[in-house]
Amino acid sequence: MPVKRIDKTPMRQRDAGVRAHDFLEVNEGYDLSRAMFEAERCLRCQDAVCVDGCPVRIPIPEFIHAIAAGDMAEAASILRGANPLPAICGRVCPQETQCEELCHMNNRFSAAAIGHLERFVADWERDQPANDGARKPWRDEKIAVIGSGPAGLVCAGQLVDMGYPVTVYEALHAPGGVLRYGIPEFRLPNAILDWEIDVLRQRGVEIVTNVIVGKTIALDDLLNDMGFAAAFIGTGAGLPRFLGIPGENLNGVFSANEFLTRINLMRAYDFPVADTPMKVGKRVAVIGAGNTAMDTVRSSMRMGAEKGLIVYRRSETEMTARIEEYHHAIEEGVEFHWLTNPIEVLGNDEGWVTGLKCQVMELGEPDESGRARPVPVAGSEFVIEVDNVVLSIGTTPNPLLLQSTPGLETDRWGCLVADQEFGRTTRPRIYAGGDVVTGAATVILAAGAGKSAAQSIHRDLSAANEAGAGQMTIKATAPPSA
């Protein structure tokens, strides 16, 4: 048995000074020898607790063993069976708080690099010849998936694998949801997203863009007139929050959603070759300290800002961003203003942003989120000179579909009520998962919810079939051998 290193095999990254000015991917991935070396670090535990940390329950030791054995095709097949989006999750999952946190290697050394290995296998698969044509679904019950973000794509991928004809409806002109409009190319290149979506299409998923279920078609029309047996709602949490402070409508103030959508979906960095403009000044303040805030501030520098600032009313400890993103942001020169609460956006006579008035905060007793409550320090107001202010203080579910569909219950935060285990909403045949249920969370939690919902759709339809005609049961048991 080869020697095990105590430290995780590092993944190469592009130099911070160079990468901070372009949109190419920061991380460069493993090569084969590094991947096989790292795969040997897995302890092959009897109790693979890492799997418990994975929302889609990838059989982690199995796929890592396949890498160690040099059988990449097997590794890819194991991964894909559990997670239809491995190239994406290998890049954007917070493994350090999930599978890798539970890894027994983590007790004394550092965890096996499960995320890096997942990414390696998916990227290997991407270099292989494409599969032969779309598979034919072998079941009759059509399923509609609303929203082509991570929840919807994973749900669709799981359902086609079980033989269901699946149609995914997307409101925008390109599929991917937050993976497309939100996560920047330097973390998740569009080419990777396009490839993952193409794989799903090859496996039989139909994706229809430019359809807003709830506006273009009612959800009940899908179920009643268009013959869908069930629907999965994965419409995410797309509605940006604003602070409601004076000056928020000045020119140069954006929601992080708008800022990132202009850049990622509309490719404003390529203006005027791309038609959508974007104005980024010399100094950009991003309010908030989650992953979206890091994406935004790092994007602002790639759009030409000389200084990107994070302004956050809590401290570094309460920051919700992934540690890797935080480190990358520091390396790229982002300036962090902790315990700084914005109270007004200042502008000039033409209505353009000139500054952000803030007050100093100190930490008090824990609030309802369990984190120390920030309390203003009297008389501590000061002004940070900035040209843009971007609000990245969270998003809530889009009410368009929920309000236009009778009988769907939402909670007081506007989230759709669905049980976490099965994704069942308050209406039969309608399932939901991802940010629309939980509020803004991670790609992999959405993926996990999409997967559980797919399984419960299958269970419920099978149960209904068994209760109904016998011939349907036969049809619903196995794929044709041909």
């Binding site: 002109h173 359809v211 807003i212 506006k215 708008e258 959508t261 509309m266």
Partner: protein
């Protein structure tokens, strides 16, 4: 993709397209809009649905060529496809039944009045459309509007057709009682669609008379579903998203200064893109 079934030039820079869009046509209500994109890497722009026919699966849009995307769209012909079209977006205006409704359409805003006025007329309201342009040749869709309104009032700056003057001057006359008797009568409600300065002038005109007035706001927009917040508008004390809360708002509550300023946010870049487009046009014309 949405196939263009027919095209008509209403003026040299205003084109009417009938587009095959069965799902949108079936769901559309008066005053709603679509968002279109006409090329890869193209921008998304909102366009009012001028008319729709659910049975035929068609919608009508009217485009004034003012920027890169509208020029590209204006150059498309019958049989061409519009790359992306999504809708219907926004909501129909909430107009209480009863009373005389006056729709004011400036420039190509007249097109947007078409299905709005037809709907109101069909619901039994006496309706008047006031449309205006610089001269007779620039007035659009007069026959179509006449067919769906109780009264049609034409206004031209030079007096070449109808009333000589601005739509707001004619509106003021109606408010002052000039339209009593055989005329359209005093407005009970006003609906204005067109360029921002015109809508603002309508709001000012009806404000003192206390006439309930709605304006159709068209701020910069990306997704049209409430996701970007770029279209936010201050209405009274509240910030609204024109795409999902509008596009119709109480004209007397809208902060027009802010709306005008926000619409000009990218004016310099838009000009830069337009110049580039003009150069490309020249270059391709030269090559041919």
């Amino acid at each position: 993709m949405a196939r263009i079934l027919s095209k008509r030039a209403l003026t040299s820079v205003t084109k009417l397209f009938v587009v095959e869009a069965p799902l949108i046509a079936a769901a559309a209500r008066p005053g709603q809009f679509v968002i279109v994109r006409v090329r890869e890497d193209g921008e998304r722009i909102p366009l009012t649905i001028a008319d729709y026919d659910a049975d035929r699966g068609e919608i009508t849009i009217v485009v004034q060529e003012v920027g890169v995307t509208t020029r590209l769209l204006g150059a498309l012909d019958e049989g061409d496809d519009i790359l992306d079209m999504v809708g219907p977006l926004g909501s129909a205006p909430e107009i209480e039944p009863g009373g005389h409704v006056v729709g004011v359409g400036g420039g190509f805003g007249a097109a947007a009045l078409l299905c709005l006025m037809r709907d109101l007329t069909e619901r039994g309201a006496p309706t008047t459309a006031i449309i205006g342009a610089r001269d007779k040749g620039l007035l659009i869709l007069t026959d179509e509007l006449r067919a769906v309104c109780s009264h049609l009032e034409l206004c031209t700056d030079d007096g070449s057709a109808g009333f000589k003057g601005l739509v707001t001057e004619r509106l003021q006359q109606l408010i002052d009682g000039d339209g009593e008797g055989d005329g359209p009568g005093r407005p009970d409600r006003v609906l204005a669609i067109g360029p921002m300065p015109m809508m603002r002038a309508v709001a000012d005109t009806t404000h003192d008379a206390g006439i309930e007035t709605l304006v159709s706001m068209d701020p910069l927009m990306i997704d049209g579903t409430g996701m970007c917040g770029g279209c936010r508008i201050t209405v009274g004390d509240e910030v609204k998203f024109a795409c999902v809360d509008g596009p119709f708002f109480d004209a007397h509550q809208v902060d027009f200064d802010e709306a005008v300023r926000r619409n000009r946010m990218y004016a310099d870049m838009e000009n830069q893109a337009a110049e580039r487009q003009a150069l490309e046009c020249q270059a391709s014309a030269g090559a041919a």
